[in-house]
Subunit: 195 residues, 2 copies
DNA sequence: GGCTTGTCTGACCGATCGGTCAGGGTCTGA
DNA sequence: TCAGACCCTGACCGATCGGTCAGACAAGCC
């Protein structure tokens, strides 16, 4: 055997991505990954310090783009922030569909790992931006529906062309999002809690 | 000790619901549930055949309502089906927020269990109905975003009053859904795949 | 008192998990 | 030729999982 280190390293990474996307992080054992690569579990742990390090390396590119988006967002408010959040997140979700599929449903526990600690804050800021920084419950609810729904849809429609997916999602977001600045539209819900 | 069977049975069920909602089905051990109740793990398995049976009993009411909705839907098409699916699913998701939180992210594996086999079919029919039975990719994508996003939002906003949540979600769905019957609106995407 | 029935438990089981470790091959450069 | 770096592995470890089982204990009936 004894291939070049970078080669095996990459093969393990690719195999892990495939398995994680199907059976999730917790649902995939190091043994599963080793079997898919055709090596021993010990080899996987020779190339990666532990299972978590494998995941972190897999997620690194997506997290970089996510933090970039957060930086862009930090100086904006109102409609501008809303637009940047919408376009930025849809683009990110479409490009990193596989990574989202890996994290799907395992957020609550994975977010406790230091490597992903930033995700929670960033996603909260994204939600705020998409809600137009409004504290109206309906605006916040809609933002959550969109962010979570887009993630799920991207993980599900892995074989739809990127452009199709992106334009469909953007159309939806622009139609669904509450326009910033409108104090209270025609739907007063039950009663607003500005007591 | 030796309480009445129904009492302990109910306590275990309630404890399981609480733990599952926080740490998920896989992430909660029978030991965790037993500790929360204040009994032994063997007691949990005295009242329930196995862990899966516990989950099944927890989900039974929600699944009943879901199948009812599916029955209502079976005879409908077009805009009527779309409306029934929207109102029915939003109502179901809001009422069974806790159950949705339990299943969150564990669908792919849980759906393989016979007790939940029906969920997959029903959710596909719901998606079709919400998409106005259109095979346009954008309509299907929007339906997935809405169904997944609503589930996630309901699991997250556990302390928002039912009525507020319901009306916000319904407003969103009515705004976001593609009206049935329109052959191709102003957004032609790249090209439609009716080859 | 005995006997049954229902409730509960500690001790145990096999399987699987992530992770460690000593050592075996192979290649390379001095 | 040979030492050392690099790649890889089988065997093993402790922890935890879902689940089993014999038996303890209390209550009710005869």
């Amino acid at each position: 055997m004894a291939r070049a280190v970078s080669e095996t390293h990459g093969e393990i990474l690719a195999a892990a991505a495939r398995r994680f996307a199907v059976t999730g992080y917790r649902g995939t054992s190091l043994q599963d990954i080793a079997r898919e690569v055709g090596c021993s579990k010990a080899t996987v742990l020779y190339h990666f310090a532990n299972k978590e390090a494998l995941l972190a390396e897999l997620m690194a590119p997506a997290i970089t783009v996510l933090t970039d988006l957060d930086d862009q967002l930090s100086g904006l408010t109102g409609a501008a922030a809303q637009e940047v959040a919408a376009v930025g997140f849809v683009d990110l979700a479409v490009r990193f569909r596989r990574e989202i599929a890996v994290l799907r449903g395992e957020f609550p526990e994975l977010l406790r790992q230091p490597a992903f600690a930033c995700i929670q804050q960033i996603s909260e800021r994204l939600r705020d931006a998409l809600a137009g920084h409004s504290d109206r419950p309906s605006a916040r609810i809609i933002a959550v529906v969109l962010l979570a729904g887009i993630s799920e849809a991207c993980a599900e429609f892995v074989d739809v062309p990127e452009d199709d997916l992106r334009s469909a999602l953007l159309t939806l977001v622009r139609r669904a999002v509450e326009p910033v600045g409108t104090p209270l539209p025609q739907t007063p819900m039950t009663e607003d809690k500005d007591s």
